[in-house]
Each structure stands twice: as C-alpha cells, then as structure tokens.
C-alpha cells in the first residue's frame, strides 16, 4: 500500500514539472534548476572530500605496518632478536647445513660475514636449494633461532640456470 501511495506522489511531482510554463515561471524553473544542481554538486564534493580524507588516514595507518624488503644476517641487531618483531631475513642457503626432522627443516641463511640458523615447518618452494638466494619471513625465538613462517626463493627473471648466464 505504502509503495503505491508514494509512487503516485512521484507521478504528481513529475506532472507538475511537465506542465506548460509561462515566461516568468520558466525563469523561476531555470533558477530552481541551478539551485538543485548546486545542491547536488555540494553534496558530491563534501562526501568526496570526506572519503578522500578518511582514505588518506587509512593509507597512512596501513603503511606504518610495512616491512623492510629484507635484511641480511649482518644487518640483524640485538633488538631484533629480543623483540620478536616480524622481519624478513635474506641471504643464501649455506651449503651442507640443511637438516630435516619430521616435517621441519633447519638450515642456515648466510651473507658474506654472518650466518643465522633458521627453522621452518612446511613445504619449501621449488627453487629452494643449497647456495640459492632465499628470503625467510618470521621472528626470532628465545634461543636466537629464526622461526620462519614463510620461505621465498629468489629467482632471477629468466628462471634460467646459471650455465647460460
């Protein structure tokens, strides 16, 4: 019932707009047109500004949570070890140090000076092997072992083996 009554109200409104307009009325209608246009524009602009401001806030808030791309074992400080912050550790897999036990795997990520023990429980990526550059994402436990949550193997863009390069 409510639907029908408001529909007929709409029709009446439309009817009013459509009737023939004399000169002065026409002038009034043009004025009304501009006022309505400005009103609509005002609301669009205000809501646009509000949306942009809140999004800017959201973006700045979210960007604070971004991580360093990765740090090498030499760049790891005592603080990183103490505060279990989530970081990315990058380096190459040290040769002859991969040990498996159950589903877990222990290996060492090294750069030219230092080397850090990493524990990862899961399936390693296809390109993981000794001497390969990898990035491990995770945190340090109490014993200074890096508990990796995710391991990414870095690859060069062509995926080509070293022989060809």
């Amino acid at each position: 019932m409510c639907i029908i009554s408001s529909l007929s109200a709409n029709c009446r409104r439309n009817h009013k707009w459509k009737r023939h307009l004399s000169g002065i009325e026409h002038h009034k209608a043009v004025n009304l047109y501009h006022i309505q246009q400005q009103k609509t524009r005002f609301w669009i602009i205000i809501s646009g500004i509000l949306l942009l401001l809140s999004t800017a806030g959201l973006v700045i808030f979210s960007l604070r949570g971004t991580m360093d791309f990765f740090r090498t074992p030499s760049e790891i400080t005592e603080d990183d070890m103490r505060w279990k912050t989530r970081i990315r550790l990058g380096g190459y897999v040290k040769e002859g140090m991969i040990k498996r036990a159950g589903t877990g795997v222990r290996f060492h990520i090294a750069d030219l000076q230092n080397c850090i023990e990493v524990y990862f429980n899961g399936v390693l990526p296809d390109l993981f092997r000794e001497g390969q550059g990898v990035i491990a994402e995770g945190f340090f436990d109490e014993n200074g072992v890096f508990m990796a949550v995710r391991v990414l193997a870095k690859h060069d863009e062509k995926y080509a083996p070293k022989v060809f390069q």
Binding site: C2, I3, S6, L7, N10, R13, Y33, Q36, Q37, K39, T40, W43, I44, S47, G48, L51, L52, T55, L58, V59, F61, S62, L63, G65, T66, M67, D68, F69, F70, R88, R100, G102, T103, V105, N121, G122, V123, L124, D126, L127, F128, K154, E157, K158, Y159, A160, P161, F164
Partner: protein, 660 residues
C-alpha cells in the same frame, strides 16, 4: 626467408600506421574528405599486416626454427605443440607483438562498425589508435625485435619457463590483453570527442559498449589468471597482491566505474566530463600495467627481461599518452556542459557513490603498488607493501560499496526514495541476518566478522534477485503474467542482475575459504592417512613417470569417507632437465564447489614424504562469481539498444520527425 618477411610486414605496418596517424588528421583539419575516408580501410590493412607477421612468428615456433634468437630462448623441439604456440607470447618480444596485434584488431573492428558515426569523429578515433600503434610498433622494432636472427643458429632451444608450460598460458595473456587493449578504444573515443567537442548520449552508448566488451575479457583474464596461480604455484592462495596482479586490478576497478558512469551519460546526459576522464584514466592504468610488467622494474613470475632501455622507452610512451590526453582534457573539458539534473538520492547518486569508492580504491591500490618503487628510486630503501596494507585499505573501502550495491538498481533516476528501496530490500535484509545468525550459531559465536561477511554476501546476492520480483509485478501478480514479463526483461537488466550476483558469489567463496578452510603439513608414509574436514585421505604410494620434456614423481592419494572410497587424486613434482628446474603439480580433488588441495614437498626418505594439504570449502565460487560477472557483461551487450543499426534507424526517425 619467412622470418625476414615477418619483420618486413611489421615495418610496413609501422609505415601504414604513421600514414594513418597523420593523413586523416590533416584531412580533418583541412576539410579534405578524401583523406579522412582513407582511415577506415587502412585500419583493416594494418591489422592484416600485423596478423600475418604474428603468424610468421608462430610458424617459426612450430617448426622450431633455431636460427631465430627468440625461438632459441623460449622454445624447445620436444615441447608439446600447444606450448610451442603459447610460448610465442610467453616472453617479452612476443607478448608485445600480441599486444599490438590486439590493438590493431580492435581498430579494425571499430573501423568496420563505425559506418554510422560522423565521419570526422570515426577518423579521429582511428588516428588516436594509430598513434598508440606507432608508439608500440616502433618500440617492438627498435628495442625488442622478435625476428632477430642468431648467427650461428642454435642446436636446441632453452625451453619455455616450466611454470609457464600450462594451458593457462594459452588463455590467460590473450584474454587479459583483449581486456587491457580494448579500453584503448574508449580512450581514443574520449580523445576524439574532446577534439571534436561534442559529448552526447551517443558517446555514452559507444563508450559503454566498448567498456563492457573489454571489461568482459579483463574479468575473464583476471579470473583465469587467479585460478592458474592457485593451482600452479602451489601456495594455496588465489590472490597475492603481487604488483602485477594489482596492475590488472586497477584497470578492472576503473573499468567498472566507467561502465557505470557511461550509463548515466547515456540515459541522463549527466556526468559527461567525469566519464570522459574515466575513459582516459582506465586506459592509462592499462598502459601503466604494461609499463610495470614490461619495463622489468618488478620481480615476479610475469617478468621476462630486465632492460633499462626498454623501461625508459615505455615510460616515455606512457608519459606521452597519459600526459597528452590529460592536457587535452584540461583544455577542452570546460566546454562540455552537463544537462541532466538529479537529486543526491537517486540512481545517478548511487552510481556516483559507486564511482567515488571504486576510484578511491584504485588510488589506494596505486599507492600500494608504486610507493615501494618510488621510495627505492628516491631514497634507496627497499620495502615491501604486502597483503596487510591492501587488506587494511581495500576491505574498508569495499564494505560500504557492497552494502549499497542492492540499492542502486532499486532507486529511480533523477529523484529516488530511499525508504521505498529499503522496504523492497527487507527480504534480503532478513536473509542476510538469518545467514549471519546461522554462521554465528555453527561457529559458536567465535567468528563475528566472518558471519558478517557471509551476511553481506547473501545481502548482495538476494538483493540482486529481488529486482527480478519487483520488475515482474507487485506481490499479488499471478505467476503466468510474471513469467511473461520475466521473459521480456531487457538484456541490460539481466546484465546488472548477473554481475551483482557474481560479485556476491565471489565474496561468498573468499569468506568461506578464509573461515572454514583447513591446512596441514605432515610427514606421510605409504599406507598412512590423514583426517581432514571429516574425511580421510590415504597415501597410496608414489611412482616415477617420464613426460615428453620432464621427469616426475607422482604421488597417489585416495579420499575415503567411512571406508568408502570417494575419489582419487594424483600430485607430482616435475623435473625439467633442459633447465634443471622443478615445478609442483598440485593435486586437486573436487567435491562439489569445494576442493582438497595437495602439494608434495621435495624430500623423500623411507618412502615417507612431506606434504602440504588444504581443505578449501566453496573455493570454486571465487572464480564462478567471475564467470557470472562475464555473463552479466554478455547479457548487457545483447540489449536491444546495442544492436547494429538501431542507432541509425533511431536517428533516421528523429530526422524524419524534424522534417514534418
């Protein structure tokens, strides 16, 4: 010999594109109708030349012509035929050629169907298309020539990257490019209209037509790419917020905004300036995507070569087209006058709301994608902006949009009544609340956010279906009358309904996987079994198999429920000796729309093996929703007003009437 012919045809195409970029343009300015008229046939000719040249490259791949550098680098004589062919666009040079092929294809199609357009406007669109074609043909010929010979010829090719040796490569890039490049017509149309100075409903209709066509392909490309990444990479995810994925998401979102605002332009003659700007922005984002992927500044699966020269050239092309178009827009836009009048609460208002949120989302995705690159260039610090950033910005922006989706089609043009729309949506609100309560009940009140998400998905789906009831009658209408009206509903209506339902289905799939998915990593021996999602999966052992250009370890599993065998699945690790690379072939066991997803580890001892296993409930809904959206696009194309000739007949009627 053949190869040189292909190279020559490409040079010829460049020369003709140069002709088409200059002569018809001069014709428009000097009022020479004969040179303007050459634009259309030349567009067809350029397409034929580029297509022949592309065929030559495919031929070189099929016969494994190892005197061509590109073939040596990306093919192998033992590769299956399908991968030899799709290998053509599995590398930088070939994929750029595909890009140009599709560009010229769309120009030719446009030229063929533009008989009804004013001649100057049609010619200007083709001129703009040729400018793009010239830039990219020159780019191919001078910096990345696929026809370069190798002296002396190679004995064997280096093989296509094993990850790309999949049916996905045959479908995903061509679909995606059809989407990306299709928006070039909208862009050229916007530029031509700005030059011509007349933005009318006809512009809205044609821009919408092309935007919908490109959007269908882009949706298909993204959907397929997502499913491909899901089963090929073995990480169990469907979207990684990888910069390359973002590069395709941005034009998609912007395209959605464009095809909505074009409706307003077509039906109400409002939002003219905004639609023109959106057409420019959408293709600019496609170009940006091409730049991000092709310049080599990103490290990802999609990246084939690092060559700073190429990056700089593409950056210049990008700057020229985006800068030029925006400059033209700045000068000419003030001439465009809006004529439609509307109240903020109306269908126009709802579409503006949609556009504002979509474009803000595009802006945040753009920031998240470019910020690390800019930071690295400016300060040298490398950071990664990953999933947390995008989840935090994308979801809050999508939430209000999804809430408002069912309202849009229920509001009337010019001045809507929110109370009426809300009253009509009572049913979907009730369904959403019921779903929310049900999910809360089965998770024992643990998952409030997930329950709200399920509610939202059903709100969108049922809200879109409500419209069918409203369009076919009032509550008392008899069913035969409803059926009659149901069959007469226009294509545009079904387009909206399907696309919105698809959105809800995708959302449902995503939330179902995140909420009810299970994941285990275990060391499994032959004969062992693992309990997952109320069923058991037994490991039956493994075998060694030799494929055409790889060797693999195949692992066999059976799914059982109360000792009844339900399904069997195989998963494997492949070793490609030609590249000494291994890949994972995930085992997918379908159960309705849900899947079991098994990935083998690389370590075997005493017949035991590490496997990673997921239960993915309703995961296929994610991509099913994508197909619903595509179907929506196709339905809206079948709408009567898009049929060829309708425009012309309508014009003729108007003309006749004015004569009377």
């Amino acid at each position: 010999m053949f190869v040189e012919l292909g190279h020559f045809l490409l040079i010829l195409a460049l020369a003709l594109s140069l002709y088409q970029a200059i002569v018809p343009l001069a014709g428009v300015f000097f009022n020479d109708s004969r040179s303007v008229a050459t634009a259309r046939p030349v567009a067809g000719l350029i397409f034929i030349l580029v297509a022949l040249s592309f065929c030559v490259l495919i031929h070189a791949y099929i016969i494994s012509d190892f005197s061509v550098l590109n073939v040596v680098l990306n093919s192998h004589s033992e590769q299956p035929l399908l991968f030899k062919i799709s290998g053509v666009w599995g590398n930088h040079e070939g994929s750029m050629l595909l890009w140009v092929l599709i560009l010229t294809f769309f120009s030719a199609i446009f030229a063929f169907f533009s008989k009804n357009l004013p001649r100057n406007l049609g010619a200007l669109v083709l001129v703009c298309q040729s400018f793009i074609a010239v830039a990219f043909l020159a780019f191919i010929l001078f910096t990345s020539n696929p026809f370069q010979r190798l002296e002396p010829p190679g004995l064997q090719g280096r093989d296509l990257n094993p990850i790309l040796q999949d049916i996905g490569l045959s479908l995903h890039p061509p679909m995606l490019y059809l989407g990306y490049v299709g928006f070039s017509i909208c862009f050229s149309f916007a530029v031509a209209t700005l030059l011509d100075g007349c933005v009318d409903a006809c512009f809205g209709r044609l821009v919408r037509l092309w935007a919908v066509i490109s959007w269908i392909f882009l949706t298909g490309g993204i959907t397929m790419g997502s499913y491909w990444a899901y089963y090929e990479l073995g990480w169990g995810g469907y979207w990684f917020w990888d910069p390359v994925e973002n590069a395709s998401l941005m034009p998609w979102l912007s395209g959605v905004a464009l095809l909505h605002s074009a409706i307003v332009l077509e039906k109400r003659s409002s939002l003219k300036i905004w639609t023109v700007l959106l057409a420019i922005i959408t293709f600019s984002l496609s170009l940006l995507g091409t730049f991000l992927v092709r310049s080599g500044i990103l490290i990802s699966v999609h990246n084939f070569a690092v060559d700073s020269m190429r990056g700089i050239v593409i950056l210049c092309i990008l700057a020229f087209f985006i800068g030029g178009a925006l400059l033209l827009f700045a000068f000419r836009a003030p001439m465009i006058r809006n004529s439609g009048l509307f109240h903020p609460i109306s269908r126009e208002g709802a579409i503006i709301f949609n556009n504002m949120f979509l474009m803000t989302t595009v802006a945040t995705v753009l920031i998240g994608t470019l910020y690390p690159l800019l930071l690295e260039v400016l300060t040298g610090t490398k950071i990664s902006v990953g999933a947390p950033f995008f989840n935090w910005t994308f979801c809050p922006l999508m939430l209000p949009l999804l809430l408002i989706v069912p309202f849009g089609p229920l509001l009337t043009w010019k001045r809507g009544d929110i109370a009426i729309a809300a009253e009509r949506l009572l049913l979907s609100f009730a369904v959403a609340l019921a779903v929310l309560a049900f999910v809360l009940y089965i998770t024992e009140g643990q998952m409030v956010l997930a329950a709200a998400g399920f509610g939202l998905a059903f709100w969108v789906i049922v809200g879109a279906l409500t419209d069918i009831f409203i369009r076919t009658g009032i509550p008392g209408t008899c069913w035969t009358l409803r059926w009659k009206r149901f069959r007469q509903l226009p294509g545009a209506f079904w387009g909206t309904a399907f696309a919105h339902v698809g959105l809800g289905i995708t959302l449902f799939g995503m939330i179902a996987v995140t909420t009810f998915g299970e994941e285990y990593t275990i060391n499994i021996k032959k004969g062992d079994s693992i309990a997952i999602a109320g069923r058991k999966i037994n490991f039956d052992g493994y075998e060694v198999y030799n494929g055409p250009n790889y060797d693999e370890h195949r692992l066999h599993f059976t799914l059982t429920e109360e000792n009844h065998q339900i399904g069997h699945v195989m998963t494997s690790r492949r070793f490609f000796p030609s590249q000494s690379v291994q890949t994972t072939e995930t085992g997918l066991l379908w159960d309705g729309l849900s899947q079991y997803y098994i990935v083998p580890g690389d370590y075997i001892d005493n017949n035991g093996m590490i496997i990673h296993i997921w239960w993915k409930p309703q995961v296929l809904c994610i991509w099913l929703g994508g197909f619903f959206m595509m179907a929506g696009g196709v339905f809206s194309l079948t709408d009567k007003r898009f049929r060829i000739g309708v425009l012309k007949r309508k014009r003729q009627r108007v003309y006749n009437r004015s004569l009377k």
